[in-house]
Each structure stands twice: as structure tokens, then as C-alpha cells.
Symmetry: C2
Subunit: 341 residues, 2 copies
């Protein structure tokens, strides 16, 4: 009589679970000397390059609800948010370590789906999952990923470095993710699917701008870069603080998507609020030497496969952060994004 | 009127918390180009060396109870278990990333204590905390650490590589940690403090055998190495499986501490069970070329500052794993350690 396959991670057990996870892993990037299965991964880094290291976690009920995502999308997003941090340094993502916290009753199918998503995202961005950890975790799931990358020392970009007069360039359509989150949290919002679905996808499956980040770095025209995880206001605040400068955003230049504008109309809200204070867009915000913005936008659009636009400029610190509205009036920009506590 | 200082991480807020954590961090190791405060850390690795990367998490109620540890000890241990994984590859620990999951009501003093412990442990082992992440986490605390290290390609040791005839060498006193855990979980055990305290400390503050691991690697006499996190039986099982061999342990050679023997006597249990199936010892288990064991033990004791002993040998795979008892009878060794699910 065939044994019934294990349905939960408790039934399967820790080491069979690790075997199951490891089976699907093939190393593609050529730098993995020892991967999953040893105490630590042993890896090659291109001599002369800087090593990049970042970590970001997805916690059930804090970052995701099992009701509003799928294990595959969760796996993709957990890696995507880290890819975005490497992209923001103009780096090449290389190696990922995945630390899973799983309540014992987690279905094995959930882990299978999560890893299918992780592998798909890793493959798309030329990254290998080289290690990690599996732990019990009552009662919420967490997926904590550390991503290692590398970057040429003459191409790396930081949050600091923005200079007065720099043009601010942003990729994609900030605010879409926050619009999607609003729709996911309140399914009763009367929004047609052709508006709702792209917004929800922007939240559930953000596209890390790795190629765009590389393209920006290669131009040599950028002074600072960050990815938009806390909203345009919050992340611009980080750049301004780290660089010791102020900044102005031009409201009518911020590239809001037609879908976000329509959702905002339905909700009776200002679409700009989603872009400024929403978060989780994972677009790039770049401070570009004045006059270089055209070449940076062209490089991003050609090599990065995403649109880009000038949305403001860097000003002296004493002017703080502000927004110039289409009618010319100026408001102070509160550098406030999502609060974890 | 002075404002009352924030008592919980919710009152303090995410970014002030990150500032607070970052303030105490000084980079000592010279390889940190960009640390905490950017999207990713930018780091130097010695050209020609392999990069090592490992992660391990401490989850409240799974790995620790706030009732039985202190924030400082938790911080030290969370890093120590990762240092141990780098030690097991004969590596040099370099950079740590710390991903914290904190329920909003976590006292700020808890985070301060945790970071004091992390910093103390990092300093002791020449490691820099270069980045991380802070997230909400209802309702349990987790401390997930990724540790990066490096190792000369001709010194690295893996789980695989053990050969028939190799002598098995173990550092320190396996089983003490499990004994300490038994005492922490049942304070009614009638055990005098001079016996109980060293055992509890072995559990709450394991010493990663970094110097010992380096010493082993430098001898060139070891074929395989692992750290004891799952108990001697479980981790020997990992080495045997990865190397395609079997192994024999000689029960009377396993260096049980006097304190563990006394605790076992009080409990009416076999002290060997704590060493074989207890886990969390973070001692090293090394497969050494026959005849090399004396030199390896000498190197470990001199440079590693810890005792070491021969406890068995590698045998053909078909003999499996077994224990030879003092009276000569042989039992099968179940490679079973702590189960997470």
C-alpha cells in the first residue's frame, strides 16, 4: 500500500523538507563552489568588484496575507524586493540565501509553490539560491532573504551623493502598488478589472529594475540612487538626508498611470498621495547631473525596458522637501511612508 | 517639559529605531565601503578567497524564551550560531546582516540589549554588522542573521570529503548545551548551582569555535568538518551522508563534562544521550587523516583554546552509523537530532 504523501511540513519533517527544496535547485551562474547542503555556501566574487549584501523579509500579516497572494507570487516578491535593493546600487545580483519560518501545519504544497516562485524569479534575474535555513515559526510564516551581488567600484551608487541642481528621474509608475494594495484589502471597491488587475499585479509582483539600475550606473551621469520601497516622499527623504540636500518634486511630472488615476477617481482621492506615500513600488529614483537626464532616461528605456521621467530637482538643504503643484502653489512634502510599528 | 522616552518600538517608530541601532555600530574590519544606511552594504572580499555565506535564525518560543535568556545573551547567541557555521568551513567571519522581526510592543530596552550582545560578539570575533532590516512581526520576535566570511580555497572544508579510516575529532564537551536546556526548561530539577550554571551557560552562550576551525584548516590534515548543531549523532549523520561513508563512535572516548555526568546522574539518565541527540553544542566535528589526529588536536588546543579528543572513525558506508559501548557491545546510531516540525 502506498504511503499517503505528507501534507504538512510537520508530517514531512525538517530534513526531507530541505531535500525537497534542494532538489529543484540548479546553479546557473558558475560561481557556486558549494551551495545548499553545507554549513555555509562557498562562492566566487569577481576580483576587484565590491560585494553587495542586503536582506529583506516578508512576514505573514505584516507584508502579505495568504488570502491575497499565492505561494508562487510570494516567492517571486520576496526575492524581487531584494533584487530591487541591489538594483538601487547599480549592482548585479548573484546569490540568494532563503531563511524560511514555517508553522508546522504549513502545507507542503505552499513550500513547493513558494520555491517555484523563488526559482522563477532567480532564473529571470540570473541569480542562484545557494543556501538558507528552515525553522519552525509559530504562528506566522516569514520568508527572509539575503541577496548578495557585486558591482564595479566605479559604477556603484549610494543614497548619498545627490548635488544641488541634480535632476530627479523616476522609473515606471509610482503609486500603482499602493493602489493595488487598496484594492486587495477592500474587494468591495467598485473598480473594473481592466483597472484593478494591473494595479493588483504591481503590488503582488513588482518588477525589480535590475537592468535599469545597471544602465544608470553605466552612464556615469548619476550621483545617487534609491529604490522606492517607502513611497516617493519617504525615499526622496532618505536621499536628501544622506546627501545633505533638499528637493522639489513637480507634481504634474510624476508619471501616474491611467489605472491609478481611475482608481483615485473612484475612491475620491488624490492619485498623487498613492505615489508619494504609498510604498512598495520598487521603481528607481535617481539624482542625475543637470543636462544628463535625457541620456539617463534613454539608457533606462532602451536597456532597462521601463519608462522614466524627470520629476523634480535637488535644492539646498534649507529649502527642505516640497511639492510644486500644477497651479504653482507649493506644499511641504512630509517624508512619510509605511510605518512598521 | 521633557518628553518621556519611548518605551516600545511602536512608540519609537521604525526609522528612529534604525538610527538608534546604527549609532552604536563602528566598522572595525576595514572592508566596509558602505554599511548600514544604504540599500545594500558594499564590502571588500580578499581577492582569490572564496566568499562564505550562511544564515540562521532565532525564533521566540522555537529557539528561545524571553523568560530563560536575556536580550544580550540572545544577541550573542544569534550571531554565535552563524559564526559556528563559518568556523565549520575553516573560514574567517567578516560581515553580518541582522534581520529583526519585532512585535510593536517590544520594549526599546530589549532591542538595545540585543544589539549590545550582537556588538560584543561581533567585536570578539572580528566581525562587522553591516546591514539588516527591521520588520513588524506579530506576535513572536525573530532574529535572523546572515553572516559572510571568507576562506582560502586550499583551506576550505566541507561536510563531504571524509574517507574510510579517518579519525573523528570533536572539540569541547558535547551534550552540555542539551543539559543546560533541560535545566532551563525545568527549574525544579534539584541540581546544585556549580553543576547547573556552567551547563545553562553552554546553552545560552555557546562559544563558536572560529579559532579552532582556522587551526584545523591550517593543518591541511582534515578531510571534512561540521559544527554540532543537531547533536553528535545528527551531525555525524550529515557528514557520513555527504561523504558516502559510515562511522563508528567510541562511547567511552566522547568527552562528557563532569557537570553533564552529574546532571544525568540526578535525572537517572544516560549522559551520552545528551551528547548524541541533544544539539546546539556548536562544537566542531572533524574527520582527520589517520595519524594526523595528534597534530590536529594540538593545533586546536593551542590556537583554538579548546580541548579536543578522538571519538571514533570513518568506516565503509555499508556499516552505517554505530556506537561501540565500553563493554564492547555495539548499537546502531540513529542520526536524529532536534526536530523543527
Amino acid at each position: 500500500m502506498a504511503e499517503r504523501p505528507a501534507r504538512t511540513v510537520r508530517e514531512l519533517g525538517e530534513f526531507p523538507l530541505i531535500d525537497r527544496i534542494s532538489r529543484g535547485i540548479a546553479y546557473r551562474t558558475g560561481g557556486v563552489v558549494a551551495g545548499i547542503g553545507d554549513d555555509t555556501a562557498a562562492l566566487r566574487v569577481t576580483p576587484g568588484n565590491l560585494l553587495l549584501a542586503t536582506c529583506d523579509v516578508q512576514v505573514e500579516r505584516v507584508h502579505f496575507l495568504v488570502e491575497t497572494t499565492t505561494p508562487e507570487l510570494l516567492g517571486r516578491k520576496a526575492l524581487a524586493v531584494n533584487l530591487s535593493d541591489v538594483a538601487a546600487m547599480a549592482g548585479i545580483p548573484r546569490y540568494a540565501l532563503v531563511s524560511l519560518g514555517l508553522p508546522p501545519e504549513t502545507p507542503v504544497s505552499f513550500v513547493d509553490g513558494l520555491y517555484a516562485g523563488l526559482r522563477a524569479e532567480a532564473e529571470e534575474f540570473g541569480t542562484d539560491v545557494v543556501g538558507g535555513n528552515v525553522s519552525g515559526s509559530p504562528p506566522e510564516i516569514f520568508v527572509d532573504i539575503t541577496l548578495l551581488g557585486e558591482v564595479e567600484p566605479d559604477r556603484v551608487l549610494y543614497r548619498r551623493g545627490a548635488r544641488i541642481g541634480d535632476r530627479l528621474v523616476v522609473t515606471g509608475h509610482p503609486g500603482d502598488s499602493a493602489g493595488g494594495l487598496a484594492l486587495l484589502l477592500d474587494p468591495t471597491i467598485p473598480c473594473p478589472p481592466e483597472v484593478a488587475e494591473p494595479l493588483k499585479l504591481a503590488h503582488r509582483l513588482p518588477i525589480p529594475r535590475v537592468a535599469a539600475g545597471r544602465a544608470v550606473g553605466a552612464t556615469g551621469l548619476a550621483h545617487a540612487m534609491i529604490d522606492l520601497s517607502d513611497g516617493l516622499a519617504g525615499d526622496l527623504g532618505h536621499v536628501a538626508e544622506a546627501s545633505g540636500v533638499g528637493a522639489v518634486l513637480w507634481a504634474d511630472r510624476i508619471p501616474l498611470s491611467p489605472e491609478l488615476r481611475e482608481l483615485a477617481r473612484i475612491l475620491g482621492r488624490d492619485p498623487l498621495e498613492f505615489a508619494l506615500h504609498g510604498g512598495e513600488d520598487y521603481e528607481l529614483l535617481v539624482a542625475v547631473v543637470p543636462g544628463g537626464e535625457g541620456r539617463v532616461i534613454e539608457a533606462v528605456e532602451r536597456q532597462g525596458g521601463v519608462s522614466a521621467a524627470v520629476v523634480g530637482e535637488i535644492v539646498p538643504a534649507e529649502r527642505g522637501l516640497s511639492v510644486v503643484h500644477p497651479d504653482g502653489h507649493v506644499t511641504t512634502l512630509r517624508p512619510v511612508g509605511y510605518r512598521h510599528f
